[in-house]
Symmetry: C2
Subunit: 642 residues, 2 copies
Amino acid sequence: MAVNVKQWLLGKPLETKDLPHQAISRPVGLAVFASDALSSTAYATEEILIILALAAGVSWVGAGGLTLGLSIPIALAIAVLLVIVTISYRQTIYAYPNGGGAYIVARDNLGEVPAQIAGAALLTDYVLTVSVSVSAGVAQIASAVPELLPYRVQIALLVIIFMTVMNLRGVKESGRIFAIPTYFFLTMMFLTLAIGFVRHFSGGLPQVTGVEPHHVGALQDLTLFLFLRAFSSGCTALTGIEAISNGITAFKDPKSHNAAVTLVWMSSILVTLFLGITFLANQIHTIPSESETIISQMSRTIHGEGSILYYLTVAGTTLILLMAANTSYADFPRLAALHAGDGFLPRQLTLRGGRLVFSWGIMVLALASSILVVMADARTTSLIPLYAVGVFLSFTISQTGMVVRLRKIGKLKPGEKIQGLETVLEYDAHWRQHMAISAIGAVCTFVVMVVFAVTKFASGAWFVVILIPLLVYAFFQVHHHYKNVAISLSMGGIKPQITTSPMRTVLLVDGVHKETVRLVNFAKSLGHDWQAIHVGVNPERAQQVTERWQEYIGEGELIVLPSPFRLLAEPIREYILKLQVEHPGCYVHVVMGNLVMDTFWEQTLHQNTSLIFNLSLSRLENVAVTTVPYQIHHQKKHSETV
Amino acid sequence: MAVNVKQWLLGKPLETKDLPHQAISRPVGLAVFASDALSSTAYATEEILIILALAAGVSWVGAGGLTLGLSIPIALAIAVLLVIVTISYRQTIYAYPNGGGAYIVARDNLGEVPAQIAGAALLTDYVLTVSVSVSAGVAQIASAVPELLPYRVQIALLVIIFMTVMNLRGVKESGRIFAIPTYFFLTMMFLTLAIGFVRHFSGGLPQVTGVEPHHVGALQDLTLFLFLRAFSSGCTALTGIEAISNGITAFKDPKSHNAAVTLVWMSSILVTLFLGITFLANQIHTIPSESETIISQMSRTIHGEGSILYYLTVAGTTLILLMAANTSYADFPRLAALHAGDGFLPRQLTLRGGRLVFSWGIMVLALASSILVVMADARTTSLIPLYAVGVFLSFTISQTGMVVRLRKIGKLKPGEKIQGLETVLEYDAHWRQHMAISAIGAVCTFVVMVVFAVTKFASGAWFVVILIPLLVYAFFQVHHHYKNVAISLSMGGIKPQITTSPMRTVLLVDGVHKETVRLVNFAKSLGHDWQAIHVGVNPERAQQVTERWQEYIGEGELIVLPSPFRLLAEPIREYILKLQVEHPGCYVHVVMGNLVMDTFWEQTLHQNTSLIFNLSLSRLENVAVTTVPYQIHHQKKHSETV
């Protein structure tokens, strides 16, 4: 029955040869890879305003009236940063046609430690992408349907569970279904901005009304620190622009070119949306609020309260946010499998489940992001300080890797080619310009990362600042372990001498009945010296077992081991150790029965000691443990009267 | 390390011969067994008032002024019932000197089904005793320290966890420590009542002030139904008076006489306290409240706000309530072990843990009562409708059992004795009077049970009315299962012929390394025909394993089983089935390796497939599964450089 439920939920298993060999066009590529980046426009403006409101208060017309307006220069600065990173990543895409994620670029140019740091940073941020995007998506829903506000954590968890099941089923990434929400969102958002700008320039755009503002404590001074805090909040707009560089191989040939063009489209759209939303939000004087998002306030003001266009805009925003969370379900397991393949994470992460997806990675992501959602009470603002540090760290490492790579290229002679670890390095006359671009990108993202970590440290970034080194430490511990095991198992290229050893069979006997007969039969069939032992937890019962052994088995030797502390495994261990002293170099072969029931519930009514013995005897050297199953099938009713 | 934590928490393991052989005096017996019954005075009066307030409203002087006063006649009626049940149970104590709980009396006189019903009812009520008593105890604490009110669920759960750990340690029941809280409570309560009565009769007893009343909805009419509902709420005062009849063997000789005298003492104290509290609660016009208990209101009014005597009274009441919960930790596991010993509950419940207590029963009780506390939000009033139905059902069954027993005695000739199942039945000239007493008791408790179930049905009793039959059904399913297994295993008294069978060894090979050498060594040592198989999830790897096998092992046969769906166990199953067709009557001995690491965390980095194989191959007949452990020890740092 469990199998049926699993098949209904996840679908039939797939053969390994069915692994998809996809090749997607630029418009589909935009839809598949851009949702994470584009969705951040749903909250980036809002997060800037929330910080500025600490100095401005909740009113646009009060003392701080101009303060919220600072969001426009901040947005412009972020747009410049975005352009720099885009140009820099374009180079990476051409340099790494087989996939140029930060982990691969760092591993190729900087070595193991920076690669693991970049990987840890990205894995952390993929988890946060799920938590942030789902929380922001639920906030959109709650803006349109305020009755749902008290249930946001529950709704967010349901969404995560749904996405987990869908991804365990294995949503085909090539599916055009991804295009629908992305283009629906873009249509609604550009329509909203267009109408908004027309109404603004025709002088007919009102200010927003009926918003319940955030509770702001005592007003703070508008310091440089607060300004930088607002800036770093807005930098969450950049999260997700690395997605295309991870997925170059998914594009049609010429892969690098198509991927690079898509990246430029994506960044252009992102800048346009982000600046447009920030500008209009300023014009209509949106106010950060716990119960209504900026997007909802803006489209409500532009389209009119309760209009169908309002609901469609909010629906589109919700959809793109959920799509963004969904991209982490592809990225996280893939990156985790890369780490695991290199021996830095548990091997199980490299195994594809029945539906060909990395099931373990999906489950780990679902669990970690659910915990974050619960801890943050599904509030986007509580999660933002944890977010983006990792992304900017990986940006910095990746671009630094490119600088190192381009320096190597600079040393080549004209026309020369050398084989690197991942790619071919080829002479390039313009290496200086390229290196300058990567270096500028690296410096910018590094500065933003430091600004982010410092200004957001107290409100949550400390967690990530501590977490990433711990993860890297854990990765290397795992690596160390696997290396040790490989050394322990290695035969060093020498063909071993395979000998045989004498063997003694030890039978574990709990009672004397049909199963015992099967056990003795097995022990005799093995054909070695054998003896039976019974752990005498209860002396009266031990006496009874001895008598029944004489009566029904009548051969071999049954030894009763006393167990005053009612332990089962300990007396057996001691007995085996004694036996090994008496018969040195001998294998001890422990044989025990195992009652096997038809159903799980029937099985729980029995002690299932064989698993316990297997575990507790496994530490002894030269001891093998055999279970002889004895199947008990459900008796027909009439047998009850026998 | 896990072992050390367990020892620190639970103490060192104890030997079986250390089972206590206690014999306690009457005053200690009163303390040990009476806390459950006496503690109900802490909430019984309050529960009556809560129901009456539905008709009276929150005010004593308003339209319903007289209504709350009805609590006095209700309390008198409950006192009469208590006297009847006491007299009836006194007879049971004399009839069953080796313990006369409802389960035993029913099993002895009425058969399996009534015994299981009585047992199910009692087990349910033991769980409720923990939930109700802990919730009521926490309510006392929150009355004295109102700041703790929002955390009552958390406090209640902490109390349950603490009690669970203490009981897993095995609190010695004979310990006089039990006497302290009981006698402290009695001292404080009688002192409070005495001062209260003196102040009342001297005219100096004020009415209570500053109580925030329960939110009562629209006032209801004072119907007979409501009156009976209030009566049944008050009947919770009777819970726990069966405790002494369960524990007769704990008393000093003459056991029955000492137990019976203690029962009479206990009931007398119980009646006195219950009536005294109800009377004074009426005089000072206590008002049911969410934030302050009646006991707190009463002692605050009598001793004065913030006086030391007030705090001592509340502390005493809290202690007795927690002691009452603790008695369930002795009763529930003991009764569950009785059921399990008769084969109606999982056998594991009969096993004594390292500290000689029934660990499984304690854990089940802790879990079930915690769930109830969380579901009821630690509100006593929400739990009361579920409570007491079970107790009155077991009272009824037990006394009906006594009626049947006394009818049998009535058929004996003067001086005649016959051996019953549990006890000796002896001629008794007064059997008619005794039978009349038991019959009156049975009828009274039956009527109360029906009144309780009907009047409380909608507010929660339905749950218990459905639960008890379900439990009884489950008990018989378990019993049916154990009977079937016993039949399957039975040799029917015939000495079996023990033969031997031919054997084939099948080696599971994942890779070729040092562990594989150990495996082949073991297989050769067994001395039967053997072959190795490799499940080819990855065709390239399968090829590599085959080549390495030729190179390093170079003997035997390695067969690669293809596995396009990446399954591990399924191809092996199919291969074994094929082998059994080719070699009929042959044992298939599957041998596999198992990497054993030094620590749990290291172990989690490996796939641990041996457990999976053990489970999935256990359903095949004539197949034994052997694991050959291969211990990998932590390498010294320098080996990393090898």
